[in-house]
């Protein structure tokens, strides 16, 4: 029996809705995808506002304060809401003679929201305001929400900047793959024939090569003297040169099935130009699929960059990315002594999970007539 999921009175509403409205309605039914969307937006906000959310200069090195454990905020002082942090006092351990820090409850540093801290630039303007700032001492010396790394740099602040790097590299890499994918997939699907066969074989060849060794080889070949920005773009290019195949596959599949559709034949018979057919009739009907596939491709990019940087063959210090941060956590010994160094795994997992939920929801919603 033909069962329609909508009540009859809703039928008219549905038949009048545009494709994007239908997609939106379908998407609204996916709770997980919506949660994913919210989290992804929040993370990209962090990437945008990294300077503001950090409170310490991420490059401020102080070997004396290396590997400090997280040092929490005291929210109440004498029962009143007045956040502050205790100071830290450096002493020598009487047994090992190592320098250790203990909380000094006699010293209190009040925290200010939107207070002044290190200077940062945005669009050519200089700012010095931060979400959190410390009064009475530089934040670099007293505030360590997530502890410090081996060079005494504040992990929280570095995590903010790492989020910016990793998320933008994902986006940039996908944009580049998308360009290649749409171009080659589109050519392949629209023209078909020997050109299609050729591109398909190229894709098959690329897909049957293990990617990480290849990336490692290419990443290792980047000249040591290149600047952070140069390496950043080079890594993006390397990642997308291999990452475009999946998107090309999706685009080609769409083109192939659309070519057979009656309304395309109708447009051809009506004398529409090829460009008009592609952009007016074909692209709108698979744009939603492309968006979904793109969303699902970003996590793969992020994981690749993280893995490469984790190996030390991707981004290099002083660049900060999730993979660079995790390099400090490569062996059990360092993890056992300073477990907070694994904290950067949390944003990686959360973002990838959210992007996957979002992409899944988009993919389901992309076919509102299906």
């Amino acid at each position: 029996m033909a069962i329609q999921t909508q009540q009859p009175d809703a039928e008219e509403r549905i038949s009048l809705a545009t494709q994007w409205q239908l997609i939106w309605w379908r998407f609204r039914k996916h709770t997980l995808a919506q949660i994913g969307a919210v989290i992804v937006i929040l993370f990209y906000l962090v990437a945008l506002l990294a300077d503001f959310l950090a409170y310490s200069d991420p490059t401020y090195v102080e070997a004396q304060r290396s590997l400090l454990p997280p040092h929490g905020i005291q929210w109440f002082d004498d029962g009143k809401f007045a956040p502050f942090v205790y100071g830290l006092k450096g002493t020598r351990d009487p047994v090992t003679f190592k320098r250790v820090y203990v909380t000094d409850t006699s010293q209190k540093y009040p925290l200010r929201f939107f207070g002044k801290g290190f200077e940062w630039k945005f669009l050519g303007f200089k700012f010095d305001r931060h979400l959190l700032a410390v009064e009475g001492a530089p934040a670099e010396e007293v505030l360590f929400l997530l502890g410090t790394d081996s060079l005494g740099r504040d992990l929280w602040s570095r995590l903010m900047y790492a989020t910016r790097t990793s998320l933008t590299i994902g986006l940039l890499g996908v944009t580049l793959s998308l360009f290649l994918g749409i171009l080659l997939g589109g050519i392949s699907g629209y023209y078909g024939g020997p050109l299609d066969t050729f591109i398909q074989r190229v894709i098959e060849v690329i897909r049957s090569i293990p990617t990480i060794p290849l990336w490692m080889g290419l990443g290792a070949a980047l000249p040591r003297e290149w600047s952070v920005t140069q390496v950043y773009f080079a890594i993006t290019v390397i990642l997308s040169l291999i990452g475009w195949t999946e998107l090309a596959r999706v685009v080609r599949g769409r083109f192939l099935s659309l070519r057979e559709e009656d309304y395309i034949t109708a447009a051809e018979l009506a004398g529409c130009s090829q460009l008009r057919i592609i952009f007016r009739h074909m692209v709108p009907s698979f744009l939603s699929h492309i968006i979904a596939a793109t969303t699902l491709a970003i996590p793969a990019m992020i994981i690749s960059e993280t893995a490469l940087s984790f190996l030390g063959l991707g981004l290099r210090p002083p660049a900060v990315s999730w993979g660079v941060l995790l390099q400090d956590a490569q062996n059990v010994q360092s993890l056992a002594i300073s477990p907070w160094l694994v904290i950067p795994t949390i944003p990686v997992i959360v973002v990838i999970l959210s992007l996957n939920f979002l992409g899944d929801g988009l993919r389901d919603a992309a076919d509102p007539y299906g």
């Binding site: 049957s208 090569i209 293990p210 990617t211 990480i212 060794p213 490692m216 080889g217 190996l311």
Partner: protein, 328 residues
């Protein structure tokens, strides 16, 4: 059928050729030719070679000739089984990577076998009992599997093992077997150590394959031939296992071709974290030290192994799907 095998075989040859080019590019990428690097390395290790020897080497590799001649010479050496010298070890590359390459394949294949034995029944269960509690649980685990990159999983598990169970996980052999010759006891020891790396490597793939299997089987379960089979009086288990599951295996099997390179890829990073004696750590040290013959050979060998794996999985696919067998 023959033409299908032939086509796949030709594609495999083309892929191998593409990989040799890529490996050659990787060897060529660092500044300076590798004989210079080689000589420098020998000098720093205290066994300099004479000018004449260096020149002889240059001629052997054709460094004074155009790029394509160099490539052809290198290919010629490869085909004769001469993979050049590894600098840091001052030994032929072949000697160094032999065992490690085998272990890489052992780990990868173990991960794939594990993936299959786990993903298949769970995928079937999730489709047949769609929207049951178990289905939701597996879907959730599946998402975690996809979201946690395998090297991070290795890192986390290592930390948990160290901190709460006070055992160091990692390696492929117990200390007493590491250098011992092969014996039954050593193989058993290896199998024991294989489980964890295989699990870590296989988790993401397992999650993906469960989703693929579930979606395929849900499609197949709606097809008329399932009703036909039921109407014959077969038991429900027999109906599902013989017909829709068999059909759902097809797209499932066609993913192994791409799954193999993916696992080999992942094994490189996971091996580093878990310090497995595979080619992974070797590749990293070779790349960092710009030991390009070693690095290039590893990339090439991994590629070739993958192509062979993909070709074998194509043959399996053909064996599973009569349509390819009859038409191809």
């Amino acid at each position: 059928m023959l033409s299908y095998i032939l086509r796949r075989f030709l594609l495999a040859i083309v892929t191998v050729w593409a990989i040799t080019v890529l490996a050659f590019v990787i060897i060529q990428l660092p500044p300076g030719d590798f004989v210079t690097i080689y000589i420098n390395a020998l000098q720093s290790s205290g066994s300099p070679i004479s000018y004449g020897q260096a020149e002889a080497m240059r001629a052997q590799y054709g460094l004074d000739q155009p790029m394509y001649i160099q490539y052809l010479k290198w290919m010629g050496m490869m085909l004769q089984g001469d993979f050049g010298m590894a600098l840091a070890w001052n030994k032929p590359v072949k000697e160094i990577i032999g065992d490690r390459l085998t272990l890489t394949m052992v780990v990868s294949i173990a991960a794939i076998l594990l993936t299959w034995t786990v993903a298949l029944p769970i995928g079937i269960y999730s489709a047949v009992r769609q929207y049951s509690l178990g289905d939701y649980v597996f879907t959730f685990i599946g998402f975690i599997g996809i979201a946690v990159p395998n090297f991070m999983l290795a890192l986390i598990l290592m930390y948990v093992g160290y901190k709460y169970f006070n055992m160091s996980i990692g390696g492929l052999f117990s200390p007493q077997y590491a250098e011992a010759p092969w014996s039954l006891a050593k193989v058993l020891d290896l199998l024991q150590h294989l489980i964890l790396p295989a699990l870590i490597l296989g988790l993401a793939g397992t999650a993906q394959l469960i989703r693929i299997m579930r979606a395929n089987l849900l499609d197949e379960l709606r097809k008329p031939y399932v009703v036909t089979a039921r109407a014959k009086g077969l038991s429900e288990t027999r109906v599902i296992l013989k017909y829709p599951v068999r059909a759902a295996l097809n797209p499932f099997a066609s993913t192994i071709g791409y799954y193999f390179p993916y696992v080999v890829s992942g094994s490189i990073v996971v091996s580093l974290v878990l310090s497995l004696p595979t080619v992974g750590p070797l590749l990293l040290t070779a790349l960092v030290a710009q030991d390009m013959f070693l690095a290039g050979t590893i990339v090439l060998m991994l590629g070739v192994m993958t192509v062979i794996g993909t070709f074998v999985s194509d043959l399996i696919l053909m064996w599973i799907d009569p349509r390819i067998r009859m038409e191809g």
